[in-house]
């Protein structure tokens, strides 16, 4: 069987042959993926197995390589936002906002306080949906389908809020340089308030279902543990690193969008195992809820929703049709004929999975000269073979979902 899968010169073939001579027991090769039912998303791992135990793993990625960076070199700045959506599609608004903030850093635009707070709200909502998906899917993988069906309703509620803000559900393409495309409707705030009332109850129940659940504990405690040193060496960031006990959070280390105004804790785990990752994400959801409440409370009065930057901010549609000035601006912005400084910018935001960085090199033309996305998934997924070594096959699935690897972000 293994010959069908592996070329004879593959290193696994050699290991299998050597082991056979040793004691007569037989190793086997298992091809997990890329469309294996148990892995969500398309990850291929060729596993060398001793019975149920994984001895080695060899991941192959790139199955949805879409060449984001190449496209970005051929598109004006406004047209790159839809690409960022499709990177980590579980938390698109964070990507959108990160991209706008990168451009604002490039252009030196100061964004009004109210806009920053609005951004914080939408980014934290995105973080909640991201963690919600990850944790509920982890539940599904350990056999608890109920939690998934229950909390998914609340993800729909968040999507309704997004729809109220920008019109889209999943790939939001939200915002503009300097702010939002329109002010948030009262309905949006109403929906956020309803969400803040209803969701904690459900999330508490969800937590109760898992936190001291014997089956869940057995499946997750000490499964896929990684030490802090190892995690840092492998470039972990975000909840997965914090689960290992390192309190690095971009929101705290390099606050953007006025995160310094809010009072929140950075939850950390201890052992970096699957259970700790689950708990850290759970705790982060509570922190996100608290940040949203604070942002709503502290929200400056007024209805400012964008910075006054006519060179980069698309004018309202009525003006485009009725005034010459606005039409010219509209045309220039859409065609990308706006002045852009020559610079190299790195901006990082705390994405759903860790430090999401944008490295932008401009040469003054209408498109980026080079745009590199620091995709946290891509960097930490390389630790996966190390983490599943010696564990059972079914644990490998659980570890994969607890890492929250998003295929779109992994393959760019």
């Amino acid at each position: 069987m293994s010959e069908l899968l592996l070329p004879p010169e593959h290193r696994y073939a050699k290991i299998i042959k050597d082991r056979l001579n040793e004691d007569g027991s037989e190793l086997s090769v298992l091809n997990l993926g890329p469309t294996h039912p148990a892995t969500h998303g398309i990850f291929q791992n060729i596993l060398l197995m001793d019975g149920e135990r994984i001895l080695e793993a060899e991941p192959t990625i790139g199955y949805i390589h879409r060449a984001f960076e190449k496209i970005a070199e051929n598109r004006p700045f406004y047209q790159i936002t839809p690409l960022t959506d499709r990177m980590n599609y579980c938390s698109s608004p964070i990507n959108n906002m990160g991209w706008w903030m990168t451009l604002e850093k490039l252009l030196g635009i100061e964004v009004p306080k109210r806009v920053q707070y609005l951004r914080v709200i939408v980014m934290e909502l995105a973080r909640i949906t991201d963690h919600l998906i990850c944790n509920s899917i982890l539940g599904v993988d350990t056999g608890a389908y109920t939690g998934f069906l229950y909390v998914f309703q609340f993800r729909e509620k968040v999507y309704e809020i997004y729809e109220e803000i920008c019109g889209a559900r999943l790939t939001t393409n939200m915002g503009r340089i300097g702010g939002f495309e329109r002010d948030w409707s009262p309905e949006a705030f109403k929906k956020i308030n309803t969400f803040l009332e209803d969701f904690p109850v459900a999330w508490k129940e969800f937590e109760n279902l898992f936190e001291r659940n014997r089956i869940f504990l057995d499946r997750t405690v000490n499964v896929g543990a990684i030490s802090a040193e190892q995690a840092m060496a492998y470039g972990f960031t975000g909840p997965n690193l914090r689960a290992a006990g390192v309190d690095y959070d971009v929101r705290v280390a390099q606050p953007y969008s006025s995160y310094e105004d809010f009072d929140f804790i950075v939850p950390v785990g201890k052992s970096g195992d699957t259970y700790d990752r689950f708990c850290v994400r759970n705790a982060e959801v509570w922190e996100s809820l608290s940040i949203i409440r604070q942002a709503l409370d502290k929200m400056p009065a007024g209805n400012e929703y964008h910075a006054e930057v006519p060179d980069y901010y698309l004018p309202p549609k009525e003006d485009v049709y009725n005034s010459m000035e606005s039409l010219i601006y509209h045309f220039k912005i859409v065609m990308g004929e706006v002045p852009v400084p020559v610079a190299e910018i790195y901006h990082a935001v705390e994405g759903g999975n860790g430090e999401l960085g944008f490295y932008l090199v401009t040469d003054g033309s209408r498109t980026p000269y080079r745009l590199h996305f620091r995709r946290p998934c891509f960097i930490y997924y390389q630790a996966y073979p190390e983490m599943i070594k010696g564990s059972l096959l079914s644990d490998a699935i659980v570890i994969l979902s607890s890492l929250n690897v998003i295929a779109g972000e992994l393959d760019a």
Partner: protein, 173 residues
């Protein structure tokens, strides 16, 4: 005490003399250029020096500058981060356009393993000493390096697009 730019600069010049140059503060990140040969000792020094402590590599990527002189046609950019002092550092290394190669740092920072593979995949930059330098995102059979500027973005096999409507024929008629 925060880590000052001048402190980094002095220390690096003291150790690496002329192999590190072009120090400047670019917006919020202090950056420098280094020669290709010195990158490995430089990164190791930055990581292990008790004062500098750049112990985390945030990002590694390539850039193609086809219009530069041959000696500077490719660049590899390293973003390092010191979490203790919260200081970022960017190192840019320019490489020869005909034979782009540089020492791999994947045994200093494990996380650069795939990042270097990705850079190889996109630009064909050879990382000497990399344990498994092969394509990662694209198919193994691919011949060219897609992120080089001369490589077309669009799928060459498309038949359903009329070039005239995309401004891609000289006469556009």
């Amino acid at each position: 005490m925060a880590l000052e730019n001048t402190q980094i600069q002095d220390k690096l010049i003291e150790t690496f003399n002329n192999d590190v140059f072009n120090f400047q503060q670019e917006r919020d990140i202090f950056s420098l250029e280094a020669s290709a040969d010195t990158i490995k000792p430089l990164i190791l020094f930055l990581k292990n020096d008790p004062e500098l402590r750049f112990h985390f590599i945030t990002d590694l990527c390539g850039i193609h500058y086809p219009d530069n002189e041959t000696e500077r046609q490719f660049a590899v950019v390293y973003h390092l981060h010191n979490w203790y002092e919260n200081k970022r550092l960017r190192i840019k290394v320019f490489l020869n356009g005909e034979k782009p190669e540089i020492k791999s740092i994947s045994n200093i920072f494990l996380s650069t393993n795939w990042m270097e593979r990705e850079t190889y995949d996109f630009y064909g930059i050879n990382f000497i000493g990399h344990p498994q330098l092969k394509r990662i995102l694209n198919m193994d059979e691919m011949q060219s390096f897609p992120m080089r500027k001369e490589f077309p973005m669009e799928d060459s096999g498309r038949t359903d697009k009329d070039d005239r409507f995309f401004g891609r024929t000289p006469s556009n008629c």
